[in-house]
Point group: C2
Chain length 343, copies 2
DNA sequence: TTATGGAATCGTAACGTTACGATTTACTTC
DNA sequence: GAAGTAAATCGTAACGTTACGATTCCATAA
């Protein structure tokens, strides 16, 4: 009962009385084989259950058929940012449909982000990488560029290096959310950010300030804060907000977990979402509309983002002469409420 | 600016005046090289930035350094079962720490589950697979066994084939949940299942019926139903339950999404969780305790399950003579409530 | 001095694929 | 019928690694 390996080119060639070369060419629709031969070879390959051995092909061509996404995974057992799931799903499915396999590699929190990337590159087992969590002066694009290694970025940095990137229209979304709260008569609108100094927060802050100005509201630095990626941290931050002398009457939440934390904080303070404090959230899982009975949800389709990232990466690998793409993904605003019958 | 490839064995050999063979042996601590030589080789390899080419190694040894988990991913854009995220995280991190890469392959809903598996096997790009969503008479273990291909299963089937599997103690958990509801004076306890006919549902039903019997309660088939993996389906099912002539006063939810659906259904019916209907949920993300203000949560550590799956798979690959492991993972019961300050 | 044996190192082949140049076959044209 | 040409096919080499048998070297014993 030992491991049986699938048929290879030489077995097909022997079976048909052809050379390995001809079989190889026939299978990839090379123009130099006789149509009859091609048909015969392809029939035999199908019948014998031939699948190309990727190691052999990789050794010869340098292409492995693997893509790697570098994501920050949760190592401590606490609740992870669930928006990663649709992103992973989108990337995996798009890769699979294009004949690639997608591996996820995790950054290690204590580690320099560059060395994690280097580990992946040097293993030589991937054709291209997707990098995430871009920061303003991110060193990774330059590193990848210097190696001539195909990559795409999820999110923008301020580094002037040509590469494809897919980003979320964070500025627009924050601006729209703030404007909607102002239109709902909020006068003290708080903005929840996730981490300090990354590009996402910078853009969201821009949109927020722009909307405040348009609505004729003052900017109050004490209403802006970063609350990290956990429910507990969000709850702590919102609780502090609510204890201010002039607490907010509107809150732009950063994501699902930020919303959860905010809801817990409101419950503890005896306040009601949608009444004393109105909430808007940026959501990527569809979860928020089921827990939030308030103004609405900005739905950001990260499954689509994952698909676009993979497609851009494959383009960078297979057609390097094409110019890089820059896609800015907007959000769909969904009003919510208990009466909404949709999923 | 073309892609620079890292050093290979022959470059190191040339640089040191040794043969490729000796360098190869020195780097993997083979016993036949002189200690001085080994030290020299390893120093040179480190200095020249040598990393083994995985394609070359794979071609020679048949080992690729890749593991594949076959999961059902969401292709329709609807909210996916978020419990997959901690599972993926646990698997990915454990694989990474052991020097493997983990790819996720998705089953295609319309497709025969076997052909998806075959596609993965035949690609020859993976050393072992993790299969999930086991059903009672699952054909996949026999298929994998016949090929001599290393694999582990998440969940048990009733097929008598020796292989490692990691399972959740679904029977115990459902029994404990039902018992707790009965102890909280519930007399009509409903059981939410996910899909019909899989092993998980079978075990949960067993535990549920056992607990009912112990508590002296009658089994009512109309209180047991399967509600699929979406919030909407759960909501529809719970709504139907609540419209029964004798509606339940207790509900054992299947997972986070089942809970969400139940909460929406309760709100719509004007009922309060923890009052007219008491809830217990099986949770793997830590999310439930933030939305549920009721009896409690059975927390199932799927990050750990993912880690155990990968470790068992690596054992099956590297040490096939070892007997397979069967691990049954229990749950930790966490009482919840607004006054609970933990994350 | 010559066997003996063990330690250290080397050379060759092979894994399955593809690129490239060489070779055969069949058909047209003079 | 011979020469020329295009189409079809073939043989060889190479990617980087490891397994295996062969070989060298050196110290010790006969």
């Amino acid at each position: 009962m030992s491991r049986q390996s699938p048929a290879n080119l030489s077995q097909i060639a022997r079976h048909l009385g052809l050379s390995v070369t001809t079989v190889s060419r026939a299978l990839k629709n090379g123009p130099e084989v006789h149509p009859d031969t091609r048909a015969k070879v392809q029939a035999a390959a199908a019948e014998m259950g031939y699948v190309p051995n990727l190691a052999g092909r990789a050794l010869r061509t340098g292409r492995t058929g693997n893509l790697t996404a570098i994501l920050p995974l949760e190592t401590q057992g606490s609740l992870s940012d669930i928006a990663k799931l649709p992103l992973i799903e989108g990337m995996t499915l798009a890769a699979q449909q294009a004949g690639y396999a997608l591996s996820v590699a995790s950054t290690i929190p204590e580690e320099d982000p560059q060395s994690g990337l280097l580990r992946v590159l040097n293993s030589g087992s991937t054709d291209g990488v997707i990098i995430t969590r871009m920061v303003s002066d991110d060193p990774r694009p330059a590193l990848l560029r210097a190696r001539g290694f195909p990559f795409v970025a999820f999110g923008r940095s301020e580094v002037a290096i040509a590469h494809s990137c897919i980003d979320i229209a964070n500025e627009d979304i924050a601006q729209d959310a703030t404007t909607r709260l102002a239109a709902a008569s909020c006068r003290c609108i708080a903005l929840q950010l996730l981490v300090l100094d990354d590009h996402v927060s910078k853009m969201r802050l821009l949109g927020y300030r722009h909307a405040l100005k348009s609505a004729g509201l003052d900017f109050r630095p004490d209403l802006v804060g970063h609350s990290g990626y956990t429910i507990a941290a969000s709850e702590a931050w919102v609780s502090r907000l609510l204890a201010l002398p002039e607490p907010p009457d509107g809150l732009v939440c950063a994501n699902e977990l930020g919303l959860m934390g905010a809801l817990v904080a409101l419950r503890r303070a005896g306040l009601r979402a949608g009444r004393e404090v109105q909430l808007i959230v940026r959501d990527s899982t569809g979860l928020s509309r089921h827990v939030l009975d308030d103004i609405g949800v900005h739905f950001v389709d990260l499954t689509l983002a994952g698909r676009l990232l993979v497609e851009a990466l494959i383009a960078a690998i297979e057609r390097p002469e094409e110019p890089p793409v820059h896609t800015l993904l907007g959000a769909r605003f969904d009003p919510v409420g208990v009466s909404d019958p949709s999923d």
